[in-house]
Symmetry: C2
Subunit: 134 residues, 2 copies
């Protein structure tokens, strides 16, 4: 339990949750201001991958910036929920081999124009919390 009365999830459980979902949010700092953007993603070899077009996500990616990545789920009826937060370095994926691997496992596309560019985020800091029944 943490000081807020939430169950602390271990790394194994955080990775399981990241692997079981495909919708999350990226937290960025752009022009000194924080922003949160939804993305569809896939975890592969303990890295997070998502598609992007030109714009702030890609800018962050290609600048080797540190970004946050978060997934969560909640059930209002049962008042239980969980969240997993990753901090890591974002890079554009340029390796043809890795892009092929991602094609094979299927990298979800969210917007109609989701770009051909792919961002990889290393899972450097990983933390998770759960409230209520698991």
């Amino acid at each position: 339990m943490d000081r807020n009365g939430l169950e602390v999830l271990d790394r194994r459980e955080c990775l399981r949750l990241l692997g079981a979902h495909t919708f999350g949010r990226v937290g960025l700092t752009t022009g000194a201001l924080p922003t949160v953007l939804p993305v569809t993603y896939r975890m592969l070899d303990e890295h997070i991958y998502f598609r992007t077009g030109p714009g702030q996500k890609l800018t962050a990616a290609t600048s080797n910036n540190v970004i946050a990545f978060e997934i969560d789920g909640m059930d209002r009826l049962w008042h239980c929920g969980w969240s997993v937060c990753v901090t890591g370095v974002a890079r554009e994926v340029t390796s043809a081999i890795r892009l092929e691997e991602l094609d094979r496992v299927g990298l979800p596309r969210w917007t109609p124009n989701d770009g051909a560019r792919v961002v990889e985020v290393s899972i450097d800091v990983l933390s998770g919390r759960r409230l209520g029944a698991s």
Copy 2:
């Protein structure tokens, strides 16, 4: 439509969505690193309110920092979804009148130890996107 093929939501629709939900995420910069934290909240008079204890959310709040606040919803089956992102200044609420008003409308509590402290975020920048059926 934006350049990613998503419907741009107007301010009125963004405010309606913010008023209709009570679970969102705060995007902060702490120690130069971005973080995303889930919160339960309520919108009142075009401001976002959430409870907090000591820690990074409160630190951001009491320092008049700019933070991001995001809500979203998606339906994988119908492949539709939406998100609303707020950028604003976070302040701790100290006015007894405002705290009473919030008690009256009911400020949801997420964690068992969610503090007596309340953070107010001004809605300075507001944007929203929707994909698929509304």
